[in-house]
């Protein structure tokens, strides 16, 4: 009996090339005749361009071309927003690849230089003379919506990009009659995603055939091709997008960017391959940011602690333009998840998307769901304090009871499956919660402040049914694809439309296939990242790669076996119904000696010397899998922090996560996703934040100024799991890529407030720097 690989934490197949430096990322590519582009960016947050003089740059050593917005205007179409949420009055303002008249954020592209090498290109940038007439800046989304605020776009009055609402009939009445109401103002600060690989593109135009090849740091090469065609006017059959090894994305490599289109313009002008790679400072200015909400949130409840309503007003910063998926994040991926794991009968929200003179905002790990989880869990903790109960008891009172196949929540979603109380009980037992509370009380008596945060969360991922995508204005489908080809010797190549870039599907998909096809995992090749040799697919984001892409892989494998059975039956001169497939062999029921191996059948299918009548040669199958629903992973996270009241310093002492993503194909990889997600969320609460001054200058403009989690600042992450299969896909799996980030920010935040409550501190703005904590403690006097 072959060992099943589903469930086995085998080490990753992608690693040998990565640990030896042999992998090829976009910036590692070197083509014959390749030249280098550098982009001049606006130093002003908002300004009118009076003139641009490129003459000195044109004559600089090594320079081959200098182009501005005047050149690309009318040649490159505006950079599109691909998610237009319906019934929301979305203002899809024009976003030129290079600004011609007005710049709207520090980092807006105004000119590009192409030179023989990068040093020469950067030198020549300094010779370009741009005369700017500065205009006033506005960086806070709530302030930008006020009358009298500086206006970014003529066609977006009051800087309003959209207004989306859940009317929540009955919610206002629930608040009026509520025994208890708790409320807060939450600032979800702007974050910089910080994939460690900067964005990069190599664009190569072959003028003879009018074909473009674009190597690009993309999470979704097929979408990149589609949008590249929209911008350039090229047709898809003439554009090949290749995302080679991609060094992390966290959402920031999903959008289509001006820069890649500028590189494309340059190669089409010069006829030579053009490489552009951003510096880290450019990454901070020109790669999308995340979050940036100002939220007014309130919860209505009974005196007992039962939640009766949730009401919010959210000002969501969009930055200067609408990036690819921007409008869907604070709406569909946020407001629709306000129930979390709780039974909340009334939900109402008004979300305003707002333009500001800052870097555009788009998907960033969790995208909308960390913000939703944060505000719900924050309010639940406030409610517990208000009604004088332990936060765990208030959660227990409101959790949706266990369900296996569908549960409707007030915002209109149907959750797939859930068992929230069990994950909570497992987590509480693992930390010995009563003992932990006793220890806290004991330490307080001795002037030591530890805090405990408990989060029960549920999130939406595994995006998702395409019909829903269409209904909510997403400009694409959300199915996935897999084409499996079997070679004459029975080797397997599976080409998929998703594009893993660290999540390990080169390994997990191969595990699935080894089980389904009964072949050695070493005989399987997973192909992704190249539009020329993979079937159309929508890419890797929204924790969808395994639930949706993995399902396509398994369904294709089953089609292969179906066809192979027909061939095997013919070869064994048996009825197809009598053929059994196990351990890589097709045998006749009751006569196991009469059999053909998978490899025998593969050879005969490819040779086609003796095929059953009407059966085509070859052994190949394709599946386009469109899931009937999203997946809704859930769990309970617990953080323990210690605070030094003398200096405001927070130590994250302990972090424990119990997550339920259904059955795990590779538990080692699942744990890795949780570890990383948790620490990324810890970054938001403790250290990170894009800080702008009133003039719209990004003060946290490099890694020297933007504080990221480092090894010595975080503890090990203790991981545990429960298993509740999802009924929505053939694997029963749920996404796990974002849960850590979705849960950890608020878990640590609530732990800090829990520690500080005896000192009179009940609210703090993130990140919780020692200075902020110290000031809050001392202002309470």
């Amino acid at each position: 009996m072959t060992t099943r690989l589903f469930g086995s934490g085998i080490r990753r197949r992608e690693d040998p090339r990565l640990i030896t430096g042999q992998s090829t990322y976009t910036d590692d590519i070197k083509l014959t005749g390749m030249v280098h582009a550098a982009i001049l960016r606006s130093p002003h947050a908002h300004a009118r361009i009076a003139s641009i003089d490129t003459s000195a740059a044109q004559g600089a050593p090594g320079v081959l071309g200098v182009y501005t917005g005047a050149d690309t205007d009318g040649v490159l179409n505006p950079i599109p927003c691909a998610w237009v949420v319906p019934d929301s009055d979305v203002k899809t303002v024009a976003h030129p690849a290079m600004a011609k008249d007005i710049v709207r954020y520090v980092g807006d592209a105004v000119a590009v230089v192409v030179a023989e090498n990068r040093y020469q290109a950067e030198d020549a940038l300094e010779l370009i003379d741009v005369a700017y007439s500065p205009l006033p800046a506005v960086v806070n989304p709530e302030e930008a919506l006020q009358s009298g605020a500086p206006q970014l776009h003529e066609d977006a009055p009051n800087n309003q990009a959209f207004h989306w609402a859940i009317p929540g009939e009955g919610t206002d009445a629930a608040f009026e009659s509520a025994e208890v109401v708790v409320k807060d103002r939450i600032r979800q600060q702007k974050l910089i995603p910080n994939a460690i690989e900067p964005r990069s593109a190599v664009a190569s135009w072959q003028s003879a055939n009018k074909e473009l090849t674009l190597w690009s740091t993309s999470q979704n090469p097929h979408i990149a091709r589609f949008l590249t065609c929209l911008v350039t006017g090229l047709t898809e059959n003439k554009v090949r997008v290749i995302a080679p090894e991609v060094g992390g994305g966290f959402g920031s490599k999903t959008p289509v960017y001006a820069d890649e289109m500028i590189a494309t313009y340059c190669t089409m002008q010069l006829g030579r391959p053009v490489k552009w790679t951003e510096t880290r400072t450019e990454n901070y200015q020109a790669t999308v940011h995340g979050r940036d909400h100002v939220e007014y949130v309130e919860m209505a409840a009974t005196r007992e602690g039962r939640i009766t309503g949730l009401r919010t007003v959210v000002y969501a910063g969009m930055g200067a333009y609408l990036s690819t998926a921007a409008t869907g994040i604070p709406t569909i991926l946020h407001g629709l998840m306000y129930s979390g794991p709780y039974d909340i009968p009334n939900i109402k929200t008004d979300v305003y998307g707002v333009f500001t003179t800052t870097t555009p905002v788009d998907l960033y790990r969790g995208a909308g769901r960390p913000e939703a989880t944060f505000l719900v869990e924050r309010l639940v903790d406030l409610l517990a304090a208000e009604v004088g109960k332990d936060p765990v008891e208030v959660r227990r009172l409101n959790l949706i009871p266990k369900f296996d196949n569908g549960h409707d929540v007030a915002a209109g979603l149907t959750y797939d499956s859930g068992d929230y109380e069990t994950t909570m009980d497992v987590a509480l037992a693992k930390v010995d919660y009563p003992q932990l509370r006793q220890e806290q009380a004991h330490q307080r008596e001795h002037g030591s402040y530890i805090g405990i945060g408990v989060t029960t969360y549920c999130e939406i991922c595994g995006l998702g049914p395409s019909q829903v995508a269409g209904a909510v204005g997403f400009g694409g489908g959300l199915w996935e694809s897999a084409t499996i080809r079997i070679t004459p010797t029975g080797k397997v190549s599976a080409a998929v439309g998703v594009n893993p870039h660290g999540q390990g599907e080169n390994t997990t998909f191969a595990q699935l296939l080894a089980d389904e096809l009964g072949v050695s995992i070493d005989d399987i090749d997973i192909i992704y990242g190249d539009t020329d040799n993979t079937p159309m697919g929508w890419g890797t984001y929204g924790s969808r790669t395994t639930p949706v892409g993995g399902s396509a892989v398994v369904l294709s494998a089953r089609k292969i076996i179906e066809k192979a059975k027909i061939i095997a039956a013919h070869l064994l001169e048996a009825a197809e119904a009598d053929i059994e497939f196990a351990d890589g062999k097709f045998s006749v029921r009751g006569s196991p000696d009469q059999n053909k191996t998978f490899q025998d059948v593969a050879l005969m299918a490819n040779l086609a010397w003796n095929m059953p009548e009407g059966v085509e040669p070859g052994l190949e199958a394709t599946t386009y899998y469109d899931p009937p629903n999203f997946t809704y992973p859930f769990g309970t996270h617990i953080a323990v922090v210690q605070i030094d009241p003398d200096n405001g310093h927070i130590v994250l002492q302990r972090y424990l996560a119990v997550d339920d993503c259904g059955p795990q194909i590779n538990p080692m990889i699942v744990e890795g996703q949780v570890h990383g997600g948790v620490v990324q969320g810890a970054g938001q609460v403790l250290w990170e934040g894009a800080v702008y001054d009133d003039n719209g200058q990004l003060l946290t403009g490099s890694m020297l100024d933007y504080a990221l989690p480092r090894a010595h600042l975080v503890p090990d992450v203790e991981t545990f799991s429960t298993v509740t299969p999802s009924p929505t896909n053939p694997l029963g799996v749920k996404g796990i890529g974002e849960t850590g980030t979705i849960a950890s920010t608020i878990t640590i935040y609530n732990a800090v407030i829990d520690a500080l409550r005896p000192l009179g501190v009940t609210t703090l703005e993130m990140p919780l720097t020692p200075e902020r904590v110290w000031r809050a403690i001392h202002q309470q006097g």
Binding site: T20, G21, K30, I196, G502, G672, H675, G676, Q680
Partner: protein
């Protein structure tokens, strides 16, 4: 004006004429084709560019190529010997110490030096030793685990 320098990289001697402003990482990646060393931040913060120079770890994005004149450099490409992975590479693989792989070369080079200095580090000593290397994927958990496993495997 170009300057002639002589560097030994992964036991191979190179005599190269370089611009005085060329960074060591530029020499490795652009001139010598050793692209395993990565550029992540340009400001000595992320550590993706860490290589060994005369045994010490240096951030090759803030070291000039001319400063490496006469030096012995080891990069990630030079770590495996005769096709056998270095124990630190093996430990990163065994313990899922990497996801996207972009910080990995710098992490592995840093850990090799750390373990030479301190063959039996505690978890906290490993964490302190990795202050200069940023990973956005792993939350460091499995990197620390890998470093400790490598120490064990190397007899520390």
């Amino acid at each position: 004006m170009k300057v002639l320098i002589k560097v030994t990289v992964n036991n191979r001697v190179h005599e190269v004429e370089v611009e005085p402003r060329l960074l060591l990482v530029g020499l490795l990646r652009e001139e010598l084709g050793l692209t395993g060393t990565k550029i992540g931040c340009d400001t000595s913060q992320c550590g993706a560019c860490v290589v060994r120079m005369n045994g010490a770890t240096v951030k090759s994005c803030t070291c000039l190529a001319v400063q490496a004149d006469g030096a012995e450099i080891t990069t990630i490409e030079g770590l495996a010997q005769n096709g056998d992975l270095h124990p630190v590479q093996e430990a990163f693989w065994d313990n899922h110490g990497l996801q996207c792989g972009f910080c990995t070369a710098g992490m592995i080079m840093t850990v090799t030096e750390l373990l030479e200095r301190n063959p039996k580090p505690s978890a906290q000593e490993v964490r302190d030793g990795l202050k200069g290397n940023i990973c956005r994927c792993t939350g460091y958990h499995n990197i620390v685990k890998a470093a400790l496993a490598a120490a064990e495997a190397m007899g520390g």
